[in-house]
C-alpha cells in the first residue's frame, strides 16, 4: 500500500473512530453468534451454547483492545483516544476542572505577566540604534556612584574626552513650564538638554531638527523642541510650527523641532530647552543637576571610556580642589544604569510569583492524586481489559498535559490584565518604557512554564497511580488510599506548600512592618488638613524682585482672607513635596580652610507665617519678616539640628553663617531664629538639617504654597479663584493635599508591600485549601475505621484532635523548614526595609501564629466532619 493510502486509512480510523468501532463490534458479534449456532446444532442448550462460545472466544473487550492495538497508528491513535477520555472525564467534574484551570491559570498568568515586565525592562534592548554604544554618566564621590553631575564638569568632560561620538547632559527631573498664548495657560513638563542629546541617543525628530551647538552657548537664541503629543494637543499638528513663536514662562521661544511620540528617556517630557554653557541653568561646579548620556565613539570600549574620563576627573580635581577633590564620573551601559533601580523590585516579584506557581502546582498535584485514587476503579477496569500500565500512565499524563495546556491558555488570557495590574502598582516611570503586552519571548515562556507544570504536578501522580496493580484493587474492591508512598507524597506537598507560604508571608510581613514604621515617622510639622500647590510667575513680567515679593505678599493676604482658609504659608520647598536643594553652610571663618567643606543643609526661601502655617515650632528668636528686605541685613533661620551642628552648645542667635550660593565667597547671614527639624523629602531619610532665608531677600519666580483648611477641595477652588483674579495667565500647579503627597512618596514601599501581601494571601489560601483537601480526603478514606471507633464509643473530641494533630504536624514541619528559608530570602528585600531588620522576630512570630491559625482552621473542618461520622452511614457506604 502506498504511503498516501496508509496515511489515509490511519486518518480514517482516527476520525471515523465510532464507525470503525461499530464495524468491529458487528464482526465480533457475528462471530460469536455463529459459534453459538454451531454449539446449538451440536445439541447444547441455549445457555450452554452461549457460555461455551464465550469461553472459546475469550473476553470480547480484550479482543477489541488487541485489534485496536494492531489497527491504529498507535501513538497518535492513543493520544486521540486519551484526549477523548480525558474530555469526557473532565466534563463529568466541572468543579475539579475549574479549580485546576483557575489555580494553575492564575499561577501561569502571573508568571507570564511578571516575565513580560522583566523582559521588557531588564532584558530587551533599548529602543535606540546601536544601544550597546550608549552610556550613562553619573557623578562619583570617593568612588561611590551617585547621581547628578555639575554643569561645568560636564562641559569639561565633553570638551576634553575623545571617547564619545556624542556626550550630552539632561536634567533627570522634569520641571513644568507655563505655556501661555493660546487659550488656557498650560503646565508643560520640560527638561534642559545640551545640544547633541537627541543625536547621542539616535533619536530623529519628525519635524525640524535638534539643538545646534551655538544654541547651547550663553546668549544663544531662545529655542525649544516640543513633543509630537504637545504639537497635536496644543497646536493642532500645525505643519508650519517650525519657526513659530511660543511663550514658555513668559519668555518667547522659537520651535525648532518636534520629537516623535515614541521618544522617551526616564521622564515624560513635552518640551526640551537647550542647556546653555555659562547660562543660569548650568550653575556652578558645586551644583549637580545633570545626568550624562553619551554614545561611545566607534571602537571605544566601556573600559577605555572610563579610563579616559578618570584622567579628566583627576585633572579637574587638581584644577578645582575645592569642589572636585573627591569627585569623579562613572560611565556605565545606559540600559544597565536605567534598570538598576528596579532590578531588586522586579526580581523579588518574579521570585514571589514563581513561588506562588509552585504552591499552585502542589495544590493541583494534591487534587489529581485524590481524584486519581477515586478513579482507581475505572483504571482497574481498563487494565483488566488489556490496557497496559504504560498505556494507563500515558492516559493520565495526557489528561494532565491537557490541563496544563488549558491552564496555559487561561494564564495567557489573564496575563495582560495581570500585567496592567502589576504595572499600576509598581511604578516603573524612571524607566518609562514598559507597556503591558505579550511579546514572543513571553509566550515562549508561557509555553515552557505550562510544560514544566505538567512535569511538576502531572507525571509523578500519574506514575504513582498507574504503577500500582489496579487489577488487584478491583478484585479486592479496596478503598485504596493510594498506598503509603502516595500518602507520603501528599504530606510532602503540604509541607512544601506551608514552607513556601511562610516565605511569602514573611516577606510581606517585613514590608508591611516597614511601611507602618514609615507612616509612623514624625514629619516635624502638622501634615493633616494641608493643601499644597505651586505658583510660577512669568519672570519676564515680574522682573524686579520687589514686584515678585509684592505679588506673593498680596496673594498670601488674599488667600488667607479666602473663606474656609485658616492659614497659608509660602516657601520654595514644601517638605516631602519638593525635595532637593541642599547646599553648603558653616561658620564663615571655617570655609575654605583645609578639610572643611561646610555642612550640607537644605536651603529654602520662605514668606512670613510659613512656620506657623505648617506647624513647625519656633524654638528661639523670630520668624522672617517682610521688613527683611534687600536693604536690610541678610538674615537666616536655622533648623534645630543645624544650629546644634554649627554652634554646638552655644546660642546661635545673632551669630553669622556662610552659605555657598555659587559665588566665589560664601554669602553671610545673621541667624535670627531657630525652628524645629522637618522631614524634607522621603520619610525613610528622616529629619534633616535645613535653613530658611526670607523670600523678600531671595525672590525667585517659583513658590510652593501650603494652605491649612478643613475642607481642602473648597480651599483649592478658593485659591484658584484668587489667583485668577490676580493674574489669569498664572495657573495653580500641581495642587495636592499633603496626604496625597505623602502617599505618593511612599508609593513604592506601599505598592511593594501591597503586591507581596496579595501574593502571600493567595499563597495562604492555596496552602490552606491544599491542607484541607489532604485531610478531608484522609477522613473520607477512613470513614469506615472512624465509624467503628465511634461505634465502640470513641469520644468525638478525640476524633477531632486526632485529625487536627495529623494536619498540624505537617504545618509545624513546614514552618520549621519555611522560617529559616524566609530569613535568608529576606536578604533579597533588605534594601526595601525601613525600621525593621531581616531577622525581625515579631514578623516571624506573627507569620507562625497567623499561618498556624489559618492552618488549624483548615484542619478543624475535616476533623469536625470526622467527629460527626454516623457509624451506620459509614458501614452503609461500604
Amino acid at each position: 500500500m502506498g504511503g498516501w493510502r496508509w496515511m489515509k486509512r490511519r486518518f480514517q480510523v482516527l476520525f471515523n473512530k465510532s464507525e470503525a468501532e461499530a464495524e468491529l463490534d458487528d464482526e465480533l458479534r457475528f462471530h460469536l453468534e455463529k459459534e453459538i449456532e454451531l454449539n446449538l446444532s451440536a445439541g447444547m442448550s441455549q445457555a450452554e451454547a452461549r457460555r461455551r462460545a464465550l469461553v472459546a472466544f475469550g473476553g470480547v473487550e480484550r479482543h477489541k483492545e488487541e485489534v485496536r492495538h494492531v489497527r491504529g497508528a498507535r501513538v497518535l491513535d492513543d493520544a486521540v483516544q486519551d484526549t477523548r477520555i480525558a474530555f469526557r472525564s473532565f466534563m463529568k467534574e466541572p468543579a475539579f476542572l475549574a479549580a485546576v484551570l483557575l489555580t494553575l491559570g492564575l499561577g501561569i498568568g502571573g508568571n507570564v505577566a511578571m516575565f513580560g515586565i522583566l523582559e521588557a525592562s531588564l532584558f530587551r534592548a533599548l529602543p535606540y540604534p546601536e544601544p550597546d554604544r550608549l552610556v550613562m554618566g553619573r557623578v562619583t564621590w570617593n568612588g561611590q556612584v551617585g547621581q547628578t553631575v555639575s554643569g561645568p564638569d560636564f562641559f569639561d568632560y565633553r570638551e576634553r574626552s575623545g571617547s564619545f561620538e556624542r556626550l550630552a547632559a539632561f536634567t533627570p527631573w522634569s520641571m513644568p513650564q507655563t505655556l501661555t498664548g493660546e487659550g488656557e495657560p498650560d503646565r508643560v513638563p520640560s527638561i534642559f538638554v545640551s545640544p547633541g542629546f537627541f543625536a547621542a541617543l539616535g533619536a530623529v525628530p519628525v519635524l525640524g531638527r535638534e539643538f545646534a551647538p551655538d544654541e547651547g552657548e550663553l546668549g544663544g537664541p531662545n529655542v525649544v523642541v516640543i513633543s509630537e503629543g504637545l504639537w497635536e494637543r496644543r497646536f493642532g499638528s500645525d505643519p508650519d510650527i517650525l519657526g513659530r513663536g511660543v511663550t514658555f514662562g513668559g519668555t518667547p521661544s522659537t520651535v525648532v523641532g518636534v520629537m516623535p511620540a515614541s521618544f522617551r528617556l526616564m521622564a515624560d517630557v513635552d518640551a526640551w530647552f537647550p542647556l546653555q554653557r555659562g547660562g543660569a541653568w548650568a550653575g556652578g561646579r558645586q551644583f549637580h543637576n545633570f545626568i550624562l548620556v553619551g554614545r561611545l565613539a566607534p571602537g571605544v570600549s566601556m573600559a577605555q571610556a572610563q579610563e579616559d574620563v578618570d584622567r579628566i576627573s583627576a585633572a579637574l580635581a587638581e584644577e578645582y580642589p575645592d569642589t572636585n577633590r573627591d569627585k569623579g564620573l562613572n560611565v556605565a551601559p545606559l540600559k544597565e544604569a536605567l534598570s538598576q533601580r528596579y532590578e531588586t523590585t522586579l526580581m523579588v516579584l518574579m521570585a514571589a510569583v514563581a513561588t506562588l506557581l509552585l504552591i499552585a502546582c502542589g495544590n493541583v498535584a494534591g487534587l489529581l492524586l485524590a481524584r486519581g485514587s477515586a478513579r482507581r476503579g475505572e483504571l482497574a477496569v481498563r487494565s483488566v481489559m488489556g490496557a497496559g500500565q504504560g498505556r494507563l500512565a500515558r492516559q493520565l499524563v495526557t489528561e494532565n498535559a491537557l490541563l496544563a495546556v488549558g491552564a496555559g491558555l487561561v494564564g495567557v488570557a489573564m496575563a495582560t490584565g495581570l500585567q496592567r495590574g502589576i504595572l499600576s502598582f509598581v511604578s516603573l516611570d524612571l524607566l518609562g518604557r514598559v507597556e503591558p503586552g505579550l511579546s514572543g519571548p513571553s509566550l515562549g515562556f508561557a509555553l515552557g512554564l505550562s510544560a514544566l507544570t505538567v512535569v511538576a504536578f502531572g507525571v509523578i501522580p500519574a506514575l504513582r497511580l498507574a504503577g500500582g496493580d489496579p487489577a488487584a484493587d478491583l478484585r479486592s474492591g479496596a478503598r485504596a488510599t493510594g498506598g503509603r508512598g502516595a500518602t507520603r507524597f501528599r504530606n510532602g506537598l503540604v509541607v512544601a506548600q506551608v514552607a513556601l507560604t511562610a516565605v511569602l508571608l514573611s516577606g510581606a510581613g517585613l514590608l508591611l512592618r516597614s511601611f507602618s514604621e514609615l507612616q509612623g515617622v514624625d514629619p516635624g510639622f502638622d501634615d493633616a488638613h494641608l493643601l499644597t500647590a505651586a505658583v510660577q510667575i512669568p519672570s519676564a513680567e515680574y522682573q524686579e524682585p520687589a514686584a515678585r515679593v509684592e505679588f506673593f505678599r498680596q496673594l498670601s493676604e488674599r488667600i488667607a482672607a479666602a473663606p474656609g482658609v485658616q492659614k497659608v504659608g509660602f516657601t520654595t520647598h514644601v517638605p516631602i513635596r519638593d525635595p532637593g536643594g541642599n547646599v553648603r553652610v558653616d561658620r564663615p571663618e571655617l570655609f575654605g580652610t583645609a578639610g572643611v567643606f561646610g555642612r550640607l543643609a537644605y536651603r529654602r526661601a520662605v514668606m512670613p507665617g510659613y512656620f506657623d502655617a505648617l506647624g513647625i515650632p519656633l524654638r528661639a528668636g523670630r520668624d522672617v519678616a517682610l521688613t527683611d528686605d534687600p536693604a536690610a541685613p541678610r538674615v537666616i533661620v536655622l533648623s534645630q539640628s543645624l544650629a546644634e551642628q554649627i554652634f554646638p552648645g552655644e546660642n546661635p542667635l545673632g551669630r553669622t553663617v556662610g552659605v555657598d550660593q555659587g559665588g566665589s565667597e560664601p554669602a553671610t547671614f545673621e541667624v535670627v531664629g531657630v525652628v524645629g527639624d522637618v522631614v524634607p523629602s522621603h520619610p525613610a531619610e528622616g529629619m534633616e538639617a535645613a535653613m530658611y532665608v526670607p523670600y523678600s531677600q531671595s525672590a525667585g519666580s517659583r513658590m510652593s504654597l501650603a494652605v491649612r483648611a478643613t475642607d481642602l477641595a473648597a480651599a483649592a477652588t478658593a485659591v484658584r479663584g484668587v489667583l485668577r483674579e490676580m493674574d489669569p495667565d498664572i495657573p495653580l500647579a500641581e495642587a495636592a493635599t499633603m496626604d496625597e503627597v505623602e502617599s505618593r512618596v511612599v508609593a513604592d514601599q506601599r505598592s511593594m508591600a501591597a503586591v507581596l501581601s496579595a501574593f502571600a494571601a493567595v499563597a495562604l489560601l492555596l496552602a490552606a485549601v491544599g491542607l484541607y483537601g489532604v485531610l478531608a480526603y484522609q477522613v473520607s478514606r477512613r470513614l469506615h475505621e472512624i465509624g467503628i471507633r465511634m461505634a465502640l464509643g470513641a469520644d468525638a473530641g478525640r476524633m477531632v484532635s486526632s485529625v487536627v494533630r495529623g494536619g498540624m504536624t505537617l504545618v509545624v514541619v513546614g514552618l520549621l523548614v519555611g522560617l529559616p528559608v524566609s530569613y535568608f530570602a529576606a536578604r533579597l528585600i533588605r534594601e526595601m526595609l525601613f525600621g525593621v531588620g531581616t531577622g525581625d522576630p515579631l514578623t516571624y512570630a506573627g507569620v507562625a501564629v497567623f499561618l498556624g491559625g489559618v492552618a488549624a482552621l483548615a484542619c478543624a473542618l475535616p476533623g469536625f466532619r470526622a467527629s460527626r461520622v454516623d457509624p451506620a452511614v459509614a458501614f452503609r457506604e461500604e
Partner: protein, 109 residues
C-alpha cells in the same frame, strides 16, 4: 478430539491468505475453513484471528467489503488482493523450503 497444534507465529498469516485464495470469506468462515482444511488439527484462536485480519488488510494483502452471509446477513467479507496473491506465492515457497528443511532435520536419525 484430535490433537491440536499451536500455530507458529507468522504461519497464521499464511493460512489466512491460503484460505482466501480459494474464495472471499468472512472472519468466522476463515477460522472454520482453516480448521476444516487441517482436519481439525489447527484451531485458530479467535483472539489472534481478527488482529491478523486487520494486520493483513493494513498491509494491503487482503481487502474487506460488505457481502452477504449464507443467511443473508450483512457481514464483512475478506478477499485476497493482487499484492496478497503475490505474497502468498512468495510465502508458500518460503514455507516449503522451511518445512522441508525442518523435515530433513527431523528425519536425520
Amino acid at each position: 478430539m484430535a490433537p491440536k497444534a499451536d500455530l507458529l507465529q507468522g504461519s497464521l498469516d499464511l493460512l489466512i491468505l491460503r484460505t482466501l485464495d480459494l474464495e472471499p470469506l468472512h472472519g468466522w468462515a476463515v477460522s472454520k475453513r482453516i480448521q476444516l482444511l487441517s482436519r481439525g488439527v489447527l484451531e485458530v484462536n479467535q483472539g489472534s484471528l481478527y488482529p491478523a485480519l486487520y494486520r493483513l488488510r493494513d498491509r494491503g494483502l487482503i481487502e474487506s467489503e460488505y457481502g452477504e452471509s449464507e443467511e443473508g446477513r450483512r457481514v464483512k467479507v475478506y478477499a485476497l488482493t493482487r499484492k496478497g496473491r503475490a505474497a502468498l506465492a512468495r510465502e508458500r515457497e518460503g514455507w516449503r523450503l522451511f518445512s522441508g528443511a525442518v523435515n530433513d532435520v527431523l528425519a536425520t536419525n
